[in-house]
Symmetry: C2
Subunit: 329 residues, 2 copies
DNA sequence: CTGAAAGCGCTAACAA
DNA sequence: TTGTTAGCGCTTTCAG
């Protein structure tokens, strides 16, 4: 692989001139430019980012931390991030942390080591203290999941309100026995959605029944099935279920089905996220839709702003309840 | 952010000594080591990968090219790649190419520019010529999708045989009118699976009916629905469908359902990939399972081998037909 | 408009 | 055992 020296030599100019051509500095004669470009082509030369970054101390690479690429929820957000990044001449690198602090560390180092210019974190299980420390010296944005006390800017929806809307929808339908399949409440969004659930119930004077609240350790389908199985064993079966993620809701749907019960006739189900699967189930799933693409765009814009030294403010986007067959009794 | 100079100064040693401490060279007195470590801590120093890589010309970073993170098929493969990489002291970076040559280019440059040591490509739509050119100077492995004529080592399953098995299973069940929902036959796997489909039919003297072969442009659910809709309009409705991906099969399932038909009573369905959602559908989906995790491990091992200058051979792994409700008539 | 040279942060010969 | 120094590939002043 040729380097800038060889190009300069071949073109009969100095490395400085080659660099100028590479960076489109206007102060180069068309004639010299041509010579240099020819040399570049002949040698199949590609400038080294390493040298360039070392010099400029910027990489124009953004890191995106996701807990697991298997969660379809992140797909659209990432599209948004990617499109915005590219528009601004940045590129993104996806980092699957697997919610594993060790892997996380690796990616944090990429930033510390100037191999990336900033981070968008979407991992709810991220080591917050580390993220905060990192944020002191490096641009970081939290997307979707965040720590309210951290000073790290975030973009999110109002989870409490969204859950409130979902549950209120069920109540309006006449349901009084509404179960909650929540994830681990160590996550902020889980705590917020539970609050929304409880607020809706309280507002309509419905009691909060502990038996109808189930916390899963993970978000995969099977955990939704397991949760539903438990709920169906409770003394008084719920007539509706609100799950904090579509994957859990789909698992619940499956479990209800396999007990010979019908959705929504016997039990109504509401999910959260509007992943693409949610319209492939039978019945299709009522769900809370987050503006994921826009969320990604916003997060990327904020990060780039922050890299360029501007102060950025956290943003709360709007959600929307998408009513489909699973609550159309 | 402190640099090695400042650490050396603070510790009262030379930069070389600091470097030795960083790289665990045994030839440092415990006393000096301690001094250096203290200085490192006090200054909150983190070595710059940029400087280090520029010097060593290695980054210990592997690039993984995927066409789209929304395809669940890749999830497990990536787990395998990741685990193997980490075991060998490498890290991986996911690159979502969106099957977009421009994005592809960016990631190719990362390798050319020494920001990554090698690539595992899983993008069927990759620009093969570019990949081949790149492979001349850089370690590259093809995973799952590959070009048979390219000399770039690959790991895959026998797609022709897998399709043959799937269709034979349907034939053994008594089906004689078997449709194929295939993706774009510009992809090698699509051509191979079609061959397997045709071989099974021929072997049992069943005619190949053009009306029962449908090619989609993409793999999302909706394309499966659309395909199925067309197939249901054909003069003679097929009694079974083999789709080359679970996502397509699930779309087909949905479409069959919405026509008031039952799977498998009216139409049997077989998919391909065994994505996690395929056990959540109603009925659950019969599908061809690839050893995805092992595939990922193998690809990563091959790439690391290749980086270390060894010759590596292509590998074909075994598949397995997983029989579930959608073909249990 | 172009060239010479310094320096980004690091490692590894070579010297001491 | 430690220090000195060259150099990885590039950009950017400063001179010319």
């Amino acid at each position: 692989m040729a380097n800038i020296q060889q190009v300069a030599q071949k073109a009969g100019v100095s490395v400085a001139t080659v660099s100028r051509v590479l960076n489109n500095h206007a102060t180069v004669t068309p004639k010299t430019r041509l010579k240099v470009e020819q040399a570049i082509n002949e040698l199949n030369y590609e400038p080294s980012m390493l040298g360039r970054n070392l010099r400029n101390s910027e990489s124009r690479l953004l890191l995106v931390l996701i807990p697991s690429i298997s969660n379809p929820f992140y797909t659209e957000i990432i599209d948004g991030i990617e499109d915005t990044a590219i528009k601004n001449n940045y590129n993104i690198l996806l980092c699957d942390t697997d919610s594993n602090p060790q892997r996380e560390n690796i990616y944090f180092n990429l930033v510390k080591n100037k191999l990336a210019d900033g981070i968008i974190s979407m991992d709810p299980a991220v080591d917050m203290q580390k993220l905060i420390d990192l944020a002191e010296h490096h641009p970081i944005i939290q997307c979707s999941e965040y720590d309210e006390n951290s000073c790290i800017p975030y973009v999110t929806i109002d989870n409490e309100l969204a859950a409130y809307h979902a549950v209120k929808h069920l109540i309006k339908l006449g349901h009084e026995k509404i179960a909650l399949i929540n994830s681990d409440e160590k996550f902020l969004y889980a705590r917020q959605r539970r609050q929304g659930y409880e607020r809706a119930l309280s507002e309509f004077n419905l009691p909060i029944n502990k038996e109808w609240i189930y916390n899963t350790t993970q978000l995969e389908f099977e955990f939704g099935q397991q949760a539903m199985k438990k709920l169906l064993q409770s003394d008084e079966k719920p007539s509706a279920v609100f799950a904090v993620s579509d994957t859990l809701a789909i698992g619940a749907l499956k479990e209800i089905n396999s007990h010979g019960l019908l959705v929504p006739d016997d039990i109504s189900v509401v999910g959260f996220d509007k992943i693409s699967f949610s319209s492939m189930t039978n019945p299709t799933l009522t769900t809370v839709s987050q503006p994921m693409y826009r969320m990604g765009c916003t997060a990327a814009s904020m990060l780039i702003d922050s890299i360029q030294g501007n102060k950025v403010e956290s943003i709360v986007l709007n959600h929307e309840l998408v009513i489909r067959e699973s609550t159309m009794g």
